[in-house]
């Protein structure tokens, strides 16, 4: 039971990867990549969690109160925002691809042309 969050993280990774592998549309693929990425959040979150711990914010809370790990939260926080811009870049690439190749299906792309 106490390993359930780790199982969820693994499931998110595998289902995201499944989506990417079977994708027939680059926009769908990008969204699956975002899901895959969220598996790392669940994993990090469960590693740093402590039962009964408060959030690592000591405004109005005495320093020394048991709290969860701030380091993993810092990792996730920046990554979520950066992820959004990376998704934007990938979508821009997909748009450019659709313009040049007239398809969004990875299977219909023959070879990369210059």
């Amino acid at each position: 039971m106490s390993f359930f969050p780790y199982a969820v993280a693994a499931w998110l990774f595998v289902i995201g990867l499944y989506g990417i592998v079977t994708s027939r549309n680059f926009v769908h693929l990008v969204i699956c990549l975002a899901v895959l990425q969220s598996s790392t959040y669940v994993l990090l979150l469960s590693i740093g969690y402590r039962v009964g711990g408060t959030a690592p914010v000591f405004a109005g809370v005495r320093v020394g109160t048991p709290a969860v790990d701030p380091v993993v939260q810092a990792l996730m926080l920046t990554d979520i925002v950066v992820e959004a811009t990376v998704v934007a870049l990938l979508l821009a690439l997909a748009l450019q691809l659709h313009k040049r190749a007239n398809t969004l299906d990875p299977d219909k792309l023959k070879a990369l042309e210059g």
Binding site: W11, V42, L45, V87
Partner: protein, 90 residues
């Protein structure tokens, strides 16, 4: 582990599966927005308010908006292509 955490994690897993298995990207954009909100709730329950805050804004506004705009553009481009073909045929 508490009931609340168990529930939200199961919810995350189910929503993610639904998002991936939806094949239409336009529907997926709505799905990913909902998924973002569920994730934010999970961060909140796991004592990570900082992360929850960034997830709410990104998940609810930035991601779905950019995806929908990209899809509109793609659809328009497809229509144009079709029109051009019809012109050539005629």
């Amino acid at each position: 582990m508490l009931f609340l955490q168990f529930t939200i994690l199961s919810f995350v897993a189910v929503t993610a599966t639904a998002v991936v298995l939806t094949r239409d990207p336009a529907k997926q954009a709505i799905g990913i927005s909902f998924y973002g909100l569920v994730m934010a709730l999970m961060f909140f329950i796991f004592q990570a308010p900082d992360v929850a805050l960034s997830q709410i804004v990104i998940g609810a506004v930035a991601l779905p908006l950019m995806i929908l705009l990209a899809l509109t553009k793609i659809r328009r481009h497809e229509e144009e292509q079709r029109e051009r073909k019809e012109k050539k045929a005629a």
